[in-house]
């Protein structure tokens, strides 16, 4: 099995998952709607005071992304299980990690599309003006999303096949994501304020380290998780 073959498998899985989603659009509609709804709820909970909303914007946005995105991961395996397709997927020759990487990329694209809709809504609702250094914010968002999706795809491989899957995934996932939440929120807040203390860099490095460590660990451990 060469790397090229594995990469073709990865592409096939990404294509398959994204096509399924594109044709039904059921998942993306629900998740985007949920994200916007959570943003609204935060607005109501924190009151109409614009200053308070603006200060809490990064935190509320990230929680909206986590709470809505988590709905997508179980679904990604649930569709396979409903059709009895996971067994066939495992029967194909090739490495198990190709399945993980394929699902990971498909989920990443999915969550990034959700963010592309939810983030502008958050900027409008919370009346946040973009700072001049806004491209850095996109970088932070992508890094945070990679960490979120890496662990989400990994844990959903288990939770989707257990009892009480809707409860299990957030219980397993959210405590693990605290470093991602902290660094993404702190870096975004700092960048939105123009990064006066130049502290965003340290948080971005932490995010990068988290992503790499858990990407490698999940790749290695996925085989054990999917084969039983």
């Amino acid at each position: 099995m060469t790397w090229r073959d594995e990469w073709r498998r990865v592409q096939a899985i990404v294509w398959k998952d994204l096509t399924t989603e594109r044709r039904s659009k059921a998942g993306i509609n629900a998740v985007v709607f949920m994200g916007v709804l959570i943003l609204l709820l935060f607005g109501f909970a924190l009151g109409p005071d614009t200053e308070a909303l603006r200060a809490a914007a990064a935190g509320a946005l990230w929680l909206a992304i986590l709470f809505s995105g988590v709905l997508a991961f179980n679904r990604s395996y649930q569709l396979e299980l409903d059709g009895g397709a996971l067994e066939s997927l495992l029967l194909y020759p090739g490495s198990r990690w190709a399945i993980y990487v394929g699902k990971l990329i498909a989920n990443l694209v999915f969550v990034l599309i959700v963010e592309a809709i939810v983030i502008p809504v958050a900027l409008v609702l919370y009346q946040v003006a973009l700072p001049p250094g806004w491209p850095a914010l996109i970088g932070v968002t992508v890094l945070g999303t990679v960490g979120f999706v890496t662990l989400g795809t990994f844990y959903a491989a288990m939770s989707s096949r257990s009892r009480a899957r809707e409860v299990l995934l957030p219980l397993l996932l959210f405590p693990m994501l605290i470093p991602v939440l902290l660094s993404a929120v702190e870096a975004s807040t700092s960048l939105l304020g123009g990064d006066p203390m130049l502290e965003a860099g340290a948080w971005v490095r932490l995010l990068g380290a988290f992503d790499i460590i858990f990407l490698v660990a999940s790749l290695l451990a996925f085989e054990y998780v999917i084969e039983v």
């Binding site: 288990m158 257990s162 219980l171 605290i178 470093p179 998780v225 039983v228």
Partner: protein, 244 residues
């Protein structure tokens, strides 16, 4: 399934039970003795008064929870490597004990914090990362509760246990950057010599308690696994079933 190693018959199980009771009694007496010694010997602290004595459980519990989690990580790794059921059961027993110690550390810390700092809870690095650690391992235990198939439960919880252990230093570092207030943690070098010996012997006593808990839960889980295998055999009319 690897249950063939545990053959159940009533007599050895009964003998094991009385050994366990004896060891448990010994461990309890040891802990009671070290606690009684420390409480009677240590003079009230200048700032904290008798409140300081919470330290004799709080600090050892915090140290020993790390030992328990270390056992979880090692046993999980060994399970993935060798695939033996007993490593899985050991990891589960250690995770239960570790979660208990973490809960104890948090609860006692809050009881101590209210009169000393004036607050039950603060978003300080050490407190917050201990709470996150607690949730990571409670998640591990919940996963075990939600999966019935023993092989699947073992594989999955080993992976979750390892990833959780990997995350401990990252959580700690990220929370420390975020906020810091906790005093430098108590260790023999930061203490009045008056308290040092007490802290040390209690750390050892609680370590023995932790090891006893792990051993006890481990044996119970082995018996449970053996009982499950026996039920299966009986249900299949003693023909051994699919796993024999």
């Amino acid at each position: 399934m690897g249950v063939g190693t545990v053959e159940l018959s009533v007599a050895p199980a009964r003998a094991r039970r009385s050994t366990g009771m004896l060891i448990g009694l010994g461990v309890f007496l040891l802990l009671a003795a070290t606690q009684a010694y420390s409480i009677s010997i240590s003079t009230p602290d200048r700032d904290m008064g008798h409140l300081q004595k919470i330290m004799y459980v709080h600090v050892p519990a915090a140290w020993n929870m790390m030992i328990a989690y270390f056992i979880v990580a090692i046993a999980s790794l060994r399970y993935l490597w060798k695939g033996r059921e007993k490593d899985d059961l050991l990891a589960a027993a250690a995770a239960e004990t570790g979660a208990l110690m973490t809960g104890l550390t948090l609860a006692l810390g809050m009881i101590w914090g209210k009169p000393t700092w004036g607050i039950w809870w603060t978003w300080d690095a050490r407190l917050t990362s201990t709470a996150v650690l607690f949730f990571i391992y409670v998640g591990y235990l919940i996963l075990r509760a939600f999966v019935d198939d023993p092989d699947r439960r073992a594989q999955w919880s080993a992976a979750v246990g390892l990833l959780g252990a990997l995350n401990v230093p990252i959580v700690y570092m990220s929370v420390r950057w975020w906020r810091t207030l906790h005093q430098v943690q108590s260790s023999p070098s930061t203490l009045d010599p008056n308290y040092t010996l007490s802290l040390r012997i209690n750390a050892i006593a609680i370590m023995i308690v932790v090891l006893f808990f792990i051993r006890h839960r481990y044996q119970t889980m082995q018996l449970e696994a053996a009982a499950d295998a026996m039920h299966e055999r009986i249900a299949l009319g003693d023909r051994g079933g699919i796993n024999a």
